[in-house]
Symmetry: C3
Subunit: 335 residues, 3 copies
C-alpha cells in the first residue's frame, strides 16, 4: 500500500480485510510487527484523536513516531509556490515535507484548506501538491474533502455493533454549530456508508446540500454495493427505520467561503440539535455516531451523548485500531 | 493496580515493595517488560519533570506514551458540566478523557484546581469527575491535594540516603514564594513522612497551617507507623536534630482563594528562604529536599542548592524510577 | 564517547568510522541496538530537522526520546547565574538541565546565543555552562559556533555523491537573508570540509569574513589532511572547478551584535542569491548544498533547489543517519 488517501481507492474486500486486521490486532497484539519503523506525523491543522491515536498505534506495533506541527517552536512554514521568501516564513513546504517524510517509513499529513471555493477544494490541489513531493507511503489524516481513517473506523464500528450493511439504514444529518466547518467528514462518511451497501439519507436544511459530484460518486458506490443514496430536509421521513444517525455540522455549500451569509443561513437552524424526539420512528436501538469533537447542547443533547444510543467513544477508539491495520499493511508488518 | 491516586491507599508493605521494585529496575533494566504498551498522558496543568520522567519511564520498560495538553494545537477543552457549548471550546472533557484513555493501557492525568475554596479542593471533585468517566487504570500526576508519584519518589530518596524511618526527624517547612501555590505537594509530603513512621514537624508561619482534616489524617498514619506529627512556627525548635528539611511554599489556608490577602500575609515572611543558619542545630548531615521547580534566592539560597546538603537532583531522578515501578505493577510487566 | 560537541575532537579515522556506521545502519537496520535507552532532547532554540531526526533515530535503534522546549507548557526557565528568582521564571537551568539529563542515557542540547559579541560567542560559555552541570553523555545539537551533527551529515553526503576529499573543491558561500543569522553552520562547515582534505574557498562580501581564529583552526585541519583554505569576495574565481557550493547566510562579523549596521551592510548584497549563472565555470555536475531551512528566491533560486544540482533532501536525511551512528557509539549499541 503506497497511499491511504481515500476509501474509494480500495475494493470492499480490501476494506473488509483492513477491518478484520484491525479487530485481530486488538485481540492479538503484535508488539514487534513494526519494530524500528518510524511514522512521521505532520499536522498543519489542529488535532486530538488523530494526534493521539497514531502515536499509540505505532507504539502498539513496536515502532514509533514523531510529530511536527506549526504550533511548535519551528521555523514558520511557507506554502505558496514560486514565492520570494523575504517575509516571516523561513522554510518552504517544498523542503519541509520531503525532509520530514525522509525520516519516516511512512508519513501522515493533515492539512485543511481555506474553504473559499468548493470546486477548488474538491480538486484537493494543496494536499496532492504535498504528497506529489514524496515517494514515501502516505496517509491522509484529513484533507479538504477526505478523512479516510475516520471512515475506516466508522465502518468497523458499525460491524462491531452489528449494524447491517445491505438493508442497513444510515442517516447522515447536518447539525447546528456556531462555525462553518469543513466538508471532509460528511463527504467521507456519505461515501463510506454508500460503499458499505447501506441505504443512506443525507438529512440537511436547504443551502447545505453536499456537492452534486460527490453525491453522484456516492450513488455509484451504493449502486455497486446494493445500497442507495438520497437527500432530504424532512427529519421524520429521514429517520424512519434508521439504524444509525451520524451527526455532523458542515459549511453551507450555497455560501461556501462567505462566512457571513453562511452564518445568517445556519442561524435559522439552531434547532438542528440531535435529541431523543428525533428517534421516535427510528429503529429502537438506533445508534448515535459522531467523529468528535462534538459540542454538547449544540450539535447533540447531553442525554443522547451520555445515554445508551451513543457509540462515539468506541467509534473514537476504532480510529486507533483502523490506523494500526493501515500501518501494518503499509509498512509490511510481520507477526 | 487499578489506580495510583494517593499513597494512603497502599499499605506500608506495598509502598516498600514499590520502592524496592523501583531500585531493581534501576540496576536491572527490563526493556521488554511493557512491550507494546501505551501510557496516555493528559496534562491540564504545566509540567516538566512529570512530562519528561513518564515518557522516559515507558521507553525504559519497552513501551511508549503520547502527550495531550491544551497548549498543543488541539480543540479547546470545556470542563463545566451541563453547559451549552456555543463558546470557544470545541470539545468537552466528558468525551476527551474517555477517548484519550481508550488509546492507552493506562492514563496519567494532571489537573490543578482554581483554588478558591479549600474544603471544595479537599473533596477532589474535578479530578474524580474525570477518573469517574473511565475504566482504564489511572495515575494521579498531581491534583488539588495529591501528588503520589512525588511522595513515592521522596520515600525512595530517603531510603537511598539512609534516612531512618522510625526515629527519623522530618521538617516540612513553608518557604516564601511570590505566588500562592497549590497544597498538593505539602499535603502529600506530610502524609508520606508520617506514614513512613518519621517524627514530622510542619514549620510554617501563622496563617499557613495545613487543613486540620489533613493534619489528622497524617497523625493517624504516623500513629500506625510509630511516628508523630506536630506543627510550629518556631524554626529553631523545629530544626532540632532534623535529618531532612523539605522546603515548599504553599497558599495561605487562612486566605485561601483570596490572592490579595494571601500576598499581603506572605510578604511578611520574605526571610523564609532556607539557608545555612537554619541548619545550626540540625543533624550534621541534614539534607535539603524540594520537589522542584524551586526559585533560587527566594525559597532557598544558592549555596544550599549547590552544596552537599541538597539531594534535589537524585530526588527528581527518583520520580522516573518510582513511576516505572507503578507502571510495571499497573500494566503487568513481565521480566 | 562522552560528548559529541565538535567534529574537531575526532580524528579523520573516527569520523570516517561514524560515516560508515551511518551507512550500515541505513542498509542493515538494528532495531534492538538501543532497546530501552532514552535520549533526552532539550531545545532552547527552534528546530525542525533536529527535532524530527533525533526522535526518528532513537526509534530506529529500538529506544526512545522525550522533548523539552520552552514553548511547551512548562515553567519558565532562568539562565542567569546567581539571580534572585522573583520574576516570571520558576525554574533555573541549573536544576532543569541535570534533572532532564538524569532521565536520559544521553542528552542533546540546542542553545543559540544572543550574538552580541563574537569573541564571547567563540568561547561557548553558555553551552559549556550547561554541559558542565552534567555527567551524562551529551550531543551538541547546535550552539553558538558549532553544529557537529550537521557537519557529520554533510561529510557523509559528499561521500554518498562521490565528491572527492583530496582534490575536491568546496565553496562555502555567504548568501543574502533578511536577518542576521548565527555562525554555527558556516564555521562548522568550513572546518568539516577542511578536515576532509578539500580545497575550501570561503566566498563572502567584505564585512562577512569568518573570525580569524576559526579560519586558522580550519587551515590547520586542512594542512593535516592535504587540503587548503582561502577566502575571497570574487565569485567567478571562487567557483572555478567547484564540486560543491554550500550556501549559507550569516551575520556580519564586522558589525556582530549591531543589527542595524549589519542590515545596512547586507542589503548591499541582495544579489547574493545562488542561481544557475554562478555555476558557469564550476564542474559540470557541481552540487548545491544547504543545511535548511532555506529561503527560496532569497538565498537560492527555485530552479536550483528544484533542479538536479540540489542535494539538500538527501543531505537532510543524512542528519538522521549520522545521529544514529553517534547515538549507537555513545550508548553502546549492540547488534
Amino acid at each position: 500500500m503506497k497511499a491511504f488517501n481515500d476509501l474509494a481507492d480500495f475494493s470492499n474486500e480490501e476494506v473488509q480485510a483492513l477491518v478484520e486486521l484491525a479487530s485481530r490486532l486488538d485481540t492479538h497484539p503484535e508488539p514487534e510487527a513494526l519494530k524500528g519503523k518510524v511514522l512521521a506525523l505532520l499536522f498543519l491543522s489542529p488535532s486530538l484523536r488523530t494526534l493521539a491515536s497514531f502515536q499509540a498505534a505505532m507504539v502498539r506495533l513496536g515502532g514509533g513516531s514523531f510529530v511536527i506541527s506549526p504550533d511548535m517552536s519551528i521555523h514558520g512554514l511557507e506554502t505558496r509556490p514560486g514565492i520570494v521568501m523575504d517575509g516571516a516564513a523561513a522554510e518552504h513546504i517544498r523542503e519541509a515535507v520531503p525532509v520530514i517524510a525522509s525520516y519516516g517509513d511512512a508519513i501522515g499529513i493533515r492539512a485543511f484548506t481555506e474553504r473559499k471555493n468548493v470546486e477548488h477544494d474538491m480538486q484537493e490541489r494543496e494536499f496532492s501538491s504535498m504528497t506529489g513531493l514524496i515517494d514515501t507511503p502516505y496517509i491522509n489524516m484529513e484533507s479538504a474533502m477526505n478523512h479516510p481513517c475516520q471512515s475506516l473506523a466508522d465502518w468497523k464500528t458499525m460491524d462491531d455493533f452489528g449494524v447491517p450493511a445491505n438493508g442497513g439504514k444510515f442517516v447522515l444529518s447536518w447539525a447546528y454549530h456556531p462555525m462553518a466547518l469543513p466538508l471532509a467528514v460528511p463527504v467521507s462518511t456519505l461515501h463510506m456508508a454508500a460503499k458499505r451497501g447501506m441505504d443512506v439519507t443525507v438529512l440537511r436544511p436547504e443551502g447545505f446540500e453536499l456537492p452534486a459530484a460527490l453525491m453522484d460518486k456516492a450513488k455509484s458506490a451504493a449502486a455497486a454495493s446494493g445500497g442507495s443514496v438520497r437527500e432530504t430536509d424532512q427529519r421524520k421521513e429521514a429517520m424512519e427505520g434508521a439504524h444509525i444517525i451520524y451527526a455532523k455540522s458542515w459549511s453551507s455549500t450555497r455560501h461556501y467561503g462567505d462566512k457571513l451569509a453562511d452564518q445568517k443561513l445556519r442561524e435559522k437552524y439552531l434547532d438542528w440539535c440531535v435529541d431523543e424526539p428525533w428517534f421516535a420512528n427510528a429503529k429502537e436501538d438506533c445508534r448515535f455516531m459522531h467523529c468528535l469533537p462534538v459540542r454538547r447542547g449544540v450539535v447533540v443533547a447531553d442525554r443522547i451523548l451520555d445515554g445508551p444510543r451513543s457509540i462515539v467513544i468506541p467509534e473514537a477508539r476504532n480510529r486507533m485500531l483502523a490506523q494500526m491495520a493501515v500501518l501494518h499493511q503499509m509498512l509490511g508488518g510481520k507477526k
